[in-house]
Symmetry: none
Subunit: 203 residues, 4 copies
Amino acid sequence: MRADARRNRDKLLDAAIEVILEAGGDPARDAIAARAGVGIGTLYRHFPDQPSLLNAVVRRTLERTIEAGEAALAEATDSFDALRRYMHSALDHGIGVVNLIHPLVDVRDPELRGRAGSVIETLISNGRRDGVLREDTTAADVVFATIRFGRPLAVGLSGAEERAIAHRHIDIYLDGLRGSRAAEASPSSPEGAPSARGKRRRK
Amino acid sequence: MRADARRNRDKLLDAAIEVILEAGGDPARDAIAARAGVGIGTLYRHFPDQPSLLNAVVRRTLERTIEAGEAALAEATDSFDALRRYMHSALDHGIGVVNLIHPLVDVRDPELRGRAGSVIETLISNGRRDGVLREDTTAADVVFATIRFGRPLAVGLSGAEERAIAHRHIDIYLDGLRGSRAAEASPSSPEGAPSARGKRRRK
Amino acid sequence: MRADARRNRDKLLDAAIEVILEAGGDPARDAIAARAGVGIGTLYRHFPDQPSLLNAVVRRTLERTIEAGEAALAEATDSFDALRRYMHSALDHGIGVVNLIHPLVDVRDPELRGRAGSVIETLISNGRRDGVLREDTTAADVVFATIRFGRPLAVGLSGAEERAIAHRHIDIYLDGLRGSRAAEASPSSPEGAPSARGKRRRK
Amino acid sequence: MRADARRNRDKLLDAAIEVILEAGGDPARDAIAARAGVGIGTLYRHFPDQPSLLNAVVRRTLERTIEAGEAALAEATDSFDALRRYMHSALDHGIGVVNLIHPLVDVRDPELRGRAGSVIETLISNGRRDGVLREDTTAADVVFATIRFGRPLAVGLSGAEERAIAHRHIDIYLDGLRGSRAAEASPSSPEGAPSARGKRRRK
DNA sequence: TATGAATGAGTGTTCATTCAT
DNA sequence: CATGAATGAACACTCATTCAT
């Protein structure tokens, strides 16, 4: 691939992430091309259809998120701190796009999925081993929640406000994931209730 | 207003809420009309432009949510339970639409805003007074979070899975909102609440 | 026909003439009904389809115009004055609607056509007999021109300005229809010009 | 601008003038696009909204009309002939569109307005200087009348019949604008009539 | 009989995608 | 390869007409 073509491809992906995080999951094509400073034809040359563009966007975001998780595992002072670093980093890397555009996306790459799953599992199992996470913590509690906190609330807040609120929500949520206190505080634990309730609640 | 016109208006609002929660914040007009079982012209008679429809949707959702909050304050066994009931009810009443369509909406009714603010403030101040919420809990910690948990993740999950995950996330988040004394304050955990709540919550 | 029904019919016709002269030849139905102060259903009861409404409008206008012509013949001081009175009266009676809506109208009533034709022919033949109209004056020179001057210019002028301009144009045009002067004044007649011009003009 | 784009723009303007003169002032967009032989999207690319299209149409017509007037001033044998050439040319160049679509149009270009006004004023002042126009001739007598004669009567006449009638009406009207003989021909002028008439006529 | 709500075909406009330059 | 003009299907909206109240 020629150098200029590679450069255009990168500009397009960056532009797509920006536009998606600003305007939602169904980005206007010319908006992306205009943001990237190229013609609409160039966008279609690099990404002939919608899935190919969105897949590339998700892939780029996932790669960055996984790297953030691996770094967190390597650098964190303890296993709770590792999870915390991971979730905040994912937010900063735009993990929200995954959710927004997912219906149209199909990232199958086994290597990528493997690394992503591995990072999450390690974060959770370390936390449970060290007694800093609830015993019943699942991957869904981390993955889906991270995606949820990455989505813009889109209520007219500035980007800075959005980010501040999201980080705050993550901190509170992480506190809810702590095992120790929950375990101590509720010896006659209500743990069974939620799942039971869940079953009854769904129609 | 004629009886049939009122009926159609209600059908349209219900349909709009359904479609918005399924398909996102910019619902296709014919989809709403078709869902309501009326012609497209009828939709435009009742809601001549997009803001008027979305405002009505938000208003209806807010009214229901406020009522749920007032009921929670009246019926809850303790102030943490009241907040818990409120957040789960808001989710069940489709609070997520508020977020999704907010950019186009402008609900100014002071009476409604007053009631909404009053419910939230009471829930939080009661909780802090009783030492079951973090000292630094703010309205934003409740309002924005409730909206966030109300939004569909839209990752190809069924409606039932969506709801189960959202309720689970709320429970974890609520645990994170517990104050320092929460551990001491709730040794006799609120076993009854969940099942009772569960029954009341289903429509 | 009940008295109130007759009243509604009249109100609708008056409203239709007003709306047509203001907004052009394709009047919006609800605008007419609203102007008349009745429901849209009432309009359709009286005039089940477009032609029936427009025919009634044209008929009413023609009747008034014919009466004006007959009065002009009876009261005028001379035959040129009769024609002048007729054209100005036709303008005041809204003759412009005839032209605007004609494509959709089909006034066949032989009696009406007979009276209309008779008035015009008498006006012209009297004028030629008295030497106050060009020898070559035809019915088309009067009928089509009268319609033309009755049409609003619609260039943002007020109703009063419109009427003033139209009456002024009629006076000038009538002067052009005078016979004596034309005959004497253009001995080196411009007759050749039109044909020569005609050749150049047609593409 | 690319050569093909320029070509399409011209085709669209020509088509718009044709359609407007045939069908009236609110031309159907697909009709224009179809007449021009392009897609509807192309029309919107060149003229994103109605005013921009109609402005371009008026501008083109005005330019042609002004050129016709300048040519008439340069080539005419006398000052009455110049005015006659101008009015007939304006008709041939579709001056009628100005009137039909004016409410939606806003041609502000000072240079264009200046040239247009200058041509008209010169035509009239020359005519008055040479004694071939009524002393009280105004620009409105020429401009508005020219527009009026340019409008189709739309009474089911063919294009050729329309044009023949309009040119005939112009010739008669021009005769009415002659000054010298008007004074001589109507010594017992009907001056009283207009005002008396005026009283009766105004409501 | 009058009313105005409901209908849906028709028209206006946007935007994803193709293709000539 | 890059560009941006052209295309037309899809969606938004209006309004003539019908019909329940």
